[in-house]
Amino acid sequence: MSTAHTTHVGIIRRTKRLLAGIIFWVMGRGLVACARLDSRVRDEVATWPDGSVITLMMWPGTPKTSVRKFDGRLTALGSRDIEATLRVTFKSVAASVPVLLGMKAILQAFAEHRATVRGDLGLAMSLVRCLHIVEGYLYPDIMTRRILPSPATRQAGHLRAYAGLLGASAPIAPAETTRGDAA
């Protein structure tokens, strides 16, 4: 194989990882924005134990993004190193790019065992339901309607959601409900 070809493959590989990193960042911020904009996400996040740190990560370690719920606020922490209470790790960059680009539903990715979960599975399912709603805000209807098994409806417009990405923190009302079992 030529050196040019090897370099080309290397660039594509690095680009995919870079892209995943950008989308992780958007997902983290998107989650925080939706916790502000969407009552369903807010209600889900309200059930998460205070002090929860949730990390979305690419196997074996980068890129990643984290959010933390602390003192009734949900905050996007970006890619900084922090001990997670719940860690969702996508097994392959190539296989998760379609998910991260909104071309495949996150619920479907879980159904296909594309990611591992370290931590409380009930909390993980709550996170997945939130990300399912976040997808509905981040990607155009024409994409989500085709790919999502039952696309989440939006409670606010795309533009407000995009503007919401600028904020890194959202207040969360105290939990009124408790989560059920994982399996």
Binding site: A124, T177, G180
Partner: protein, 394 residues
């Protein structure tokens, strides 16, 4: 139906039938094990079921390193750690679990501790995060026909101090050998026979119609339903029919292998909530709720249910039913089995029969909506949707 991608694993070697238990010494030797620990509970020892296994081990010249019969109804971290400690102290090299769900869950929990050297099980909580080159050899001998735990890669263990119900999901937890011997289930009372069979039916139907269904789990689910349709009536008529008992044990195993890979949905979400909120027995909740959950999913999962009519009602009935009526007829097939179980074994068919009241339902619905199994149901449901399903089943 072929999904764009799926994963399936079931590494268990299955021994099914007459004298299956007598083959355990050979299986131990083939895994180079000579000193197993027997894990069971006091009740199963009193019933003489553990003795059948102990006597087979003695016949095969196997020295049992230790017997741990302190497994309570709900497995807990404390019991798992005690078990692991006793295993190390007695210098054992394998686990033989004889019992139902809690005995198997406890043995699986101990196998994580023993295989990874974990000091805190919490580190391994989650899905596919147990890494080990080899697990402690585990042989499972189920004494009920419902959970399918002898081939599932899952365990639930309570941390009573931290008040966490820990879920562990990994193919590493699938036992090495699953032993189905009719002697283990001949004595099951009729109502328990019926309710555990309805649990197995529910595993098969939900695995077949949920988001994760794939050709391998489908094959297991179809075979499970065929056996249940044919042999549940026989076992209810004659509880001592060894062939029927073995068939139900196989149905439970097949359905377990299906749902361990393809998960369950709304019926289990509601059933878990009925168990958590009102202590309803799992299998009874499954039987009561299955036709109602299917009716809710009908518009989305209809094509899948239509395929199941072949297995729920047989080829004659399938061929005689117009294609557009098959999905609804499949729900009818489930109802027929449930009514048979009610008539012959006193299986309840309504939530009110197991003591639930209308006032309890909103809390049950709120719990069900947050259950993990909801994520895999083919159709989303709101708390109001679930409440109306529950009201229909009251």
């Amino acid at each position: 139906m072929i999904p764009a991608y799926y994963e399936f694993s079931n590494r268990a070697k299955i021994l099914s039938g007459e004298y299956a238990i007598e083959h355990i010494p050979f299986e131990l030797a083939s895994m180079e094990c000579a000193r197993p620990m027997l894990v069971t509970n006091k009740q199963l020892r009193e019933l003489g079921l553990a003795d059948i296994v102990l006597s087979a081990l003695a016949d095969g010249g196997v020295t049992v390193g230790a017997i741990f019969d302190d497994v309570p109804v709900d497995s807990s971290v404390q019991v798992v750690n005690d078990l692991a400690g006793a295993y190390r102290e007695a210098g054992c090299d394998s686990l033989i679990a004889v019992g139902g769900g809690s005995v198997l869950d406890t043995a699986k929990g101990a196998s994580i501790v023993l295989s990874t050297g974990a000091t805190d099980l919490l580190e391994h909580m989650g899905s596919e995060v147990v890494n080990a080159r080899a697990m402690v050899p585990l042989i499972a001998v189920p004494t009920t026909s419902g959970t399918g735990s002898e081939v599932t890669g899952a365990a639930v263990i309570k941390d009573t101090e931290r008040h966490v119900k820990m879920g562990f999901v990994t193919p590493h937890l699938v036992p090495d050998v699953a032993v189905l011997d009719p002697r283990m289930t001949l004595g099951l009372p009729p109502r328990l026979t019926a309710s555990t069979a309805m649990d197995a039916l529910c595993h098969a139907v939900e695995a077949f119609s949920c988001r994760q269904a794939n050709p391998l789990s489908d094959a297991h689910a179809r075979a499970a339903i065929d056996l249940l349709r044919e042999y549940l009536p026989v076992a209810l008529d004659d509880p001592k029919d060894a062939t029927a008992r073995l068939a139900l044990a196989n149905a439970s195993l097949l359905a377990g292998a299906a749902f361990s890979n393809s998960m369950v949905g709304i019926v289990h979400a509601m059933g878990h909530a009925c168990g958590g909120q009102c202590s309803i027995a799992h299998g009874e909740a499954m039987g009561i709720l299955l036709p109602h959950g299917m009716a809710y999913n009908l518009d989305v999962a209809g094509e899948r249910y239509a395929e199941l009519l072949l297995h729920l009602a047989g080829s004659e009935a399938f061929a005689a039913t117009p294609a557009e009526d098959r999905a609804a007829a499949a729900i009818g097939g489930v109802r027929t089995l449930l009514e048979l179980a009610a008539e012959k074994a006193g299986m309840p068919t309504r939530l009110s029969e197991v003591g639930m009241t209308r006032e309890q339902l909103p809390a049950v619905a709120a719990l069900a909506i947050n259950d993990g199994a909801m994520s895999f149901n083919p159709k989303d449901a709101s708390a109001e949707d679930i409440l109306s399903i529950l009201e229909g089943a009251l």
